[in-house]
């Protein structure tokens, strides 16, 4: 199965705002995506509860898995998202709003 490993860039890890943005992006993909942390079992990346309970911190390596048509592009897009500091970007979005 195609997979990709990435280091989480958000200051808060996969928490609060960053988790919400990641889950929202994963839910919008044409194929199901799963998230794996260390040697724990992979969880559904579209589940905010499953993602939050992984307690991922900034700098943690996580692995994304997906299968099916377009899986490589989906993984590339989500890995790029996870690598950014989404908390930092949040400030700009709020100031505009």
């Amino acid at each position: 199965m195609p997979e990709r490993t990435v280091t989480v860039g958000s200051r808060s890890g996969l928490h609060a705002r960053s988790a919400k943005l990641f889950v929202r992006a994963a839910s919008a993909q044409p194929v199901p995506v799963r998230l794996r942390v260390g040697d724990r079992p992979a969880v559904d990346a579209r589940s905010i509860l499953a993602v939050l309970t992984q307690r991922v911190k900034q700098g943690t390596e996580v692995t994304l898995e997906a299968d099916g048509e377009g899986a490589e592009q989906v993984l590339a897009a989500l890995a790029e998202l996870l690598g950014r500091d989404l908390d930092e970007e949040g400030e700009g979005a709020r100031a505009d709003g």
């Binding site: 808060s12 928490h15 609060a16 705002r17 919400k20 889950v23 929202r24 559904d44 579209r46 589940s47 905010i48 509860l49 499953a50 939050l52 309970t53 307690r55 908390d87 930092e88 949040g90 400030e91 709020r94 100031a95 709003g97």
Partner: protein, 542 residues
């Protein structure tokens, strides 16, 4: 339970002045789960459960789209949980096992809530979200009223058992004509919020929850009464005047002794540009209900918004006052057995120094870009060493005027030693009263002990004022005692140099001081300290 519909007079404790009338809307209570049903059509039951979760998600998304800021973030996060595929699967599995939809939803949500609670900290906070969503989904399935803040679509008198800080964060002051609660005392969160918003409020009203939704009531926040059974025609069209003008002249006694009359504010919307200044800028509302700390840039902007409204004037900013009684999810503070005596106020800085340093940096940057005279103070200081440590950190960030709040009797008793380290003191009489009398602020049954006229409390205030006068440093009062026009002259007589209060209280306090000389105030203070209880103290200061 009989509902009150005839002309009825209920009474409680008026904690926020003013009168208003309008239809009752009760805070929704969680639905009672009926006994389990035998499910005949499992497919239909599963469809009902899916519809409930979909309706819940859609409602939350709609509400999120109509709001902004912190409230929007909260609603979006709730919508995402309601749409979580993990929950949907767990509900479906239980229906497949023979459960009816309300029981399947309850069991699935409770199981997830349990897992989150085990995770502690931030995750445990989300457990309460799941329980709130569970109650809403079950109410939808049962056709019962929705729990939580009511939204009847017109202005209303909010009736509740009590309001939590989280409820108040979501409350739209434009819609709430008055607040009536069963619990709460004069210094409860409900009371403080209502005064800050200028909404009449009566707390400690037994039987208030028996007022039916839609019944028109007249609430008098001065007399502490709630009169039911008026007709809709007598209901006032709008809320009473809330934007009370503050006197344009500075506070003075009849013989010209200056007493700064400052405002207690929570954000820029509470500022009156004609005020002498701000004596207590509570910064919690910037943090409340947040999933993550506001960034230094966002904090700086919020402080600058206030400072820009008060050019050249004094603004005392209090650093974050959080704890288990005012929980802030991102701090990850564990629940406590006795939150009022736990990790709160400045004590949180020991484990989370970065939060305080970020805040001090943001205050210093905002201060540097304004002409306002910015003072900063820490809440819940107990010892001179804590005061010294806070002062050193604040000065390190370039803040010139550093003080501490006196809310703990130990700090009041050692005020002279604390003043070796800081430039000023500000007495928070609500907490100082609670800790002096060992009486929980939130317990309406103890309101006589929490009376700000308790001579023991006034003794401590006088002790602090003396310590300030000895070294020539200002000592103010920013608790609710300062807002009492009869008590304010007594405080001035004790040697207090500034009084800080909600804007709505300033005109009466301004007038009370203008009627008395400083000498009259001092003599009243001496008589009050000679009393044994609040009623004798009041009689001693006519």
């Amino acid at each position: 339970m009989g509902e009150v519909t005839a002309r009825t007079l209920l009474s409680g404790l008026g904690v926020s002045a003013g009168a208003a009338s309008g239809p009752v809307a009760r805070m929704g209570r969680p639905p009672a789960l009926p006994g389990a049903r035998v499910v005949a059509d499992a497919e239909a039951e599963a469809a009902a459960a899916r519809s409930a979760l979909a309706a819940l998600t859609e409602d939350l998304e709609d509400r999120a789209a109509r709001t902004s800021g912190a409230a929007r973030e909260i609603l979006e996060a709730l919508a995402m949980i309601a749409a979580d595929p993990l929950l949907a699967e767990a509900v479906a599995a239980r229906v497949a096992g023979g459960a009816d939809a309300p029981h399947a939803v309850t069991a699935a949500f409770d199981e997830q809530a349990g897992l989150l609670r085990e995770g502690g900290g931030y995750l445990a906070e989300r457990a309460a979200d799941l329980e709130d969503l569970r109650d809403r989904a079950v109410a939808w399935l049962l056709g019962a009223p929705m729990p939580g803040l009511p939204a009847p679509g017109h202005p209303f008198v909010l009736v509740a058992d009590d309001l939590a800080p989280a409820d108040t964060a979501m409350l739209d002051p434009a819609d709430v004509l008055a607040v009536v609660t069963v619990r709460g005392g004069p210094t409860s969160h409900t009371a403080i919020l209502a005064r800050a918003l200028g909404i009449p409020a009566v707390v400690g009203v037994a039987g208030a929850l028996e007022l039916a939704d839609g019944v028109v009531v007249a609430v008098d926040g001065d007399l502490g009464t709630v009169r039911a059974g008026g007709s809709a025609a007598t209901a006032s069209a709008g809320r009473p005047q809330t934007r009370v003008a503050v006197p344009a002249t500075p506070g003075r006694t009849a013989d010209g002794h200056p007493v700064e009359l400052l405002l207690n504010i929570g954000s820029a919307k509470d500022v009156r540009p004609e005020a002498e200044g701000v004596g207590l800028f509570r910064t919690e509302f910037l943090f409340l209900g947040r999933r993550s700390a506001p960034s230094p840039a966002e904090q700086r902007a919020a402080y600058a918004e206030v400072l820009d409204l008060l050019p050249g004037r004094k603004v005392v900013i209090r650093t974050l006052d959080a704890g288990a009684d005012k929980p802030l999810p991102f701090l990850g503070l564990p629940p406590e057995e006795n939150p009022a005596l736990g990790i709160r106020g400045l004590r949180t800085a020991a484990g989370l120094p970065q939060v305080l340093d970020d805040q001090l940096a943001a205050i210093a940057q905002a201060a540097a870009a304004t002409t306002a005279d910015v003072w900063v103070m820490a809440p819940m200081v107990a010892t001179p060493a804590e005061a010294a440590s806070f002062a050193a950190r604040a000065r390190h960030h370039g803040l010139a005027k550093v003080g501490v709040m006196i809310e703990i009797p130990a700090a009041a008793l050692r005020a002279h030693r604390i003043l070796r380290h800081v430039d000023f003191l500000s007495i928070g009489t609500n907490d100082l009263g609670q800790y002096t009398m060992a009486a929980d602020r939130q317990d309406g049954r103890l309101s006589d002990l929490l009376d700000p006229w308790q001579p023991a409390l006034l003794d401590l205030i006088g002790h602090c004022a003396d310590a300030g006068r000895t070294v020539g440093r200002p000592v103010g009062v920013c608790g609710e005692a300062a807002a009492d026009p009869r008590l304010a002259p007594v405080l001035v007589g004790l040697g207090i140099s500034s009084l800080s209060m909600a804007a709505t209280a300033v005109p009466a306090v301004h007038a009370a001081l203008a009627e008395r000389t400083l000498d009259q105030c001092a003599r009243a203070a001496a008589r009050v300290l000679d009393a044994d209880d609040p009623s004798a103290a009041r009689e001693a200061a006519p």
